[in-house]
Symmetry: C2
Subunit: 472 residues, 2 copies
């Protein structure tokens, strides 16, 4: 390794004190937009070379094949699990063998939760074994389970109105799926709200755009001062059925058993590799995805795809013998699914260098055929990113949308760093998200080729332009 | 009951002997097609009344609500199960309470198979609990299971080529899904072909157009003289993963446990109800769906929907005070999934009356928004059906396709009776078919309204026209 991270942070910190945030971060540029446009247009040949290599050349299907090998070998990679540990070791070796620079691991303490054995059986009005997945961080039930009558509600408002009915019951949330960010509140806070009104457990309709009787897990959060009750997700199908039964006046009784346990924090790592910048090595364009996943399926889509097109972006640039002026840094986050634990640690460790971050990128919404780039940043920065995206005209992915995001890059975006994320078919994404169905079968090598090309062109050009992206 | 079925058969048999097949069955009609067209055009107001009642009037959503109540109450209805028995009793009562005529049950002996406890665990190259569903009629494994190395093949041809490798192994079929009828051969004959080359068990990639890690069960068939081996379906995802592993040279070992058992045949019934014809009561238009299902999900789509739009067709006609010249007969088949057992029995009991069957109809491919009617029959009959379908112009379902079909009506079709089936979105249908995902969540009340209107208009008009549909 040429630069160990702790040394590197020191250097960067020094630079940001002497050169000042203004030069790199505030976009006080003497150049006209016309000059910048012309600069970007000069990358047409580079963009074509990247596209040719990724989509039509010898690198095609590489990110898919690499991903398949990893996830077939280690399976899903839950925070705190042996398989996540193994995946990090394999990736550390993979990145070294790929010839990337500064390949290293940055230690992080991460949550360790295991679901154990689980079951949910409807006892009344008829016997029915239900598919169930405990929610991350949930406590378990006693060994004999929790057996109680069910109260079905479709919203937190309804739960409040019917609070007197909830005591001693299992609350079933059958909230509609309008969009992910709205529906996911029930998964995250459903147990706390149910516990506040005296429920013994809560079951949440899976947050999914489409279902074939598939439960979709995810993190939930307890709250200080509110009793912890066991909580799990059930299928859309069973939530709807119980809603119909309740509306007919049927008494519903469920026996819920969960062997879930929280263990002491485990040791883990963010996995880092670079192509060091030729002119401004202290300046960074960060490309990333997270390596951890839920403990079902293969974590191929969430977020194997994002992690592997991020690696692929650096591989493509390296294979073409390109070296941008700024450092391209790949980060494979750990414990994103537990609330961006690895990313928070990274932010705290590296934020002193914030003025040197030109752009933070994360792909964590699928690597299907991209519809474009989501971007958060100043209008001037957006105009530049729009020009860069024009370079992707040959593969017809040129759109720039609002609201670049990603659990792992949001720390930086909120602190004013421009951020970009890959957007594609969210209906498809949330059909498989956090379910047993998140496997390589969902992934398409040709679509990953295109996603990797977008990722490589954007990260390379932004890293190589004369100036950093201007901030607000 | 006004006409008991055995009496009815006698009468009909007599008529077919005296009047001869020619009059009713062979379409030797003196009328021109223009006259027939004019006759059909006169049903415009009746068709509109049916459509108004079913789609916009007080009957809207009725078939959906009736179906939801049944399948929420009894759940799935496997051949030989208590829940199928209960469903038949409930339907018998429902049809009587609905005021239909000749409501009765026709006894049938049906297969009784139970899956018991099942599991499939990949032991090598890594531990992975797989979703599995034993196939109908499969034997079980010994209690300790069958543990063996896997041979993955993608076709029967490949199995033949690699026959020496199969002995003592578990054969995994990863056949592509080109269409249902091609892929389903692997489910039906996979065990026999694997046993012929010495395999201990066979696992079949689920026959499905789309998967979220969902196994899709179904019937399989042993062959005399070939050893019976346990057989189950696995998910598309696991079949594809094992294919990838095998192509990398990995050794795959699976432990399969199946508690499946075949029991002596059980007592069951086809459920029958009628609106008796006013002028030719011995002549029949048969509308049908099957009441049994697999033992997963709710059997809401396959074939609750078909059974309930068939009932709804008679309800709509009755509610409008209509009585066709011929008898409209509703049959809810039993044990279709075991190979049309109820329908075969019905055919044998009633085939003497075949010349009096104007049209046999079955809906068993979903009751989503219909794309049209599949029809098998003479060109003259097709021309008439096409005219009838023009009456459905107000709801834009006018297309007539080739190849009317249905396990339960094929006996009649093969014997020359015109046959019709409802066609809709088969990709959607085979996403849920025979899986835990076949629930009311798949069903759409508005789409069922339209399907029921199509079913009612076609069956009523064909039953009420002056002449039977001409045969070849
Ligand atoms: Zn993710
Ligand atoms: Zn069926």
């Amino acid at each position: 390794m040429k630069f160990h991270v702790s040394v590197f942070v020191g250097v960067v910190h020094f630079l940001s004190l002497t050169s000042g945030k203004a030069v790199y971060g505030n976009g006080i540029s003497q150049r006209t937009f016309q000059e910048i446009k012309e600069e970007i247009a000069c990358y047409g040949d580079v963009a074509k070379a990247i596209i040719n290599l990724a989509v039509y050349g010898k690198a095609q299907n590489r990110s898919y094949e690499r991903l398949a090998l990893l996830v077939d070998t280690v399976g899903p990679r839950l925070s705190g699990s042996k398989s996540l540990e193994k995946a990090i070791q394999i990736m550390h070796q993979n990145l070294q063998e790929d010839g990337l620079e500064n390949v290293h691991l940055e230690p992080v303490k991460i949550p360790h939760w295991e679901r154990g054995e689980e079951s949910a059986v409807m006892l009344e009005p008829r016997i029915h074994k239900m598919a169930v997945l405990g929610l991350g961080s949930s406590i378990g039930t006693p060994p004999e389970g929790v057996t109680a009558e069910v109260l079905v509600v479709t919203s937190f408002d309804e739960l409040q109105r019917r609070a007197p009915e909830a005591r001693g019951k299992i609350v079933v949330y059958n909230q509609p799926y309008t969009n992910y960010s709205r529906a996911v509140q029930y998964r995250v806070q459903g147990a706390v709200e149910a516990a506040k009104v005296g429920a013994l457990a809560s079951l949440i309709r899976s947050v999914a755009s489409f279902s074939i009787y598939s439960p979709h897990t995810g993190i939930q959060e307890y709250q200080d001062g509110v009793p912890k009750i066991p909580t799990a997700c059930i299928t859309v199908e069973d939530a709807e059925m119980m809603s119909r039964m309740a509306s007919r006046g049927s008494r519903i009784v469920i026996q819920l058993k969960m062997g879930a346990k929280n263990y002491p924090d485990a040791d883990s790592f963010n996995t880092v590799a670079e192509i060091v910048g030729s002119k401004y090595p202290e300046q960074v364009v960060l490309v990333s995805g997270h390596l951890d996943s839920w403990d079902v399926g293969q974590g191929a889509m969430d977020d194997g795809g994002g992690a592997f097109i991020s690696w692929e972006a650096l591989s493509l640039i390296k294979d073409l013998g390109l070296r941008p002026k700024r450092t391209l840094r790949l980060v494979l986050w750990t414990a994103e699914e537990q609330g961006g634990i690895g990313a928070l640690q990274y932010y705290q460790l590296h934020k002193a260098n914030i003025s040197n971050y030109s752009l933070v990128m994360e792909s964590d919404l699928g690597t299907f055929l991209p519809s474009g780039l989501q971007f958060t940043g100043s209008d001037k920065a957006r105009a530049i990113v729009e020009e860069v995206m024009c370079l992707l005209e040959p593969i017809n992915v040129t759109q720039v949308f609002r609201a670049g995001e990603g659990t792992d890059i949001n720390f930086w975006i909120q602190a004013g760093v421009p951020g970009a994320s890959l957007l594609d078919d969210l209906y498809k994404y949330f059909s498989f998200h956090h379910s047993h169905g998140d496997t390589m079968t969902v992934m398409d090598p040709k679509q990953m080729n295109v996603a990797a090309a977008v990722w490589a062109v954007v990260s390379f050009v932004i890293a190589d332009m004369e100036e950093m992206l201007p901030r607000s």
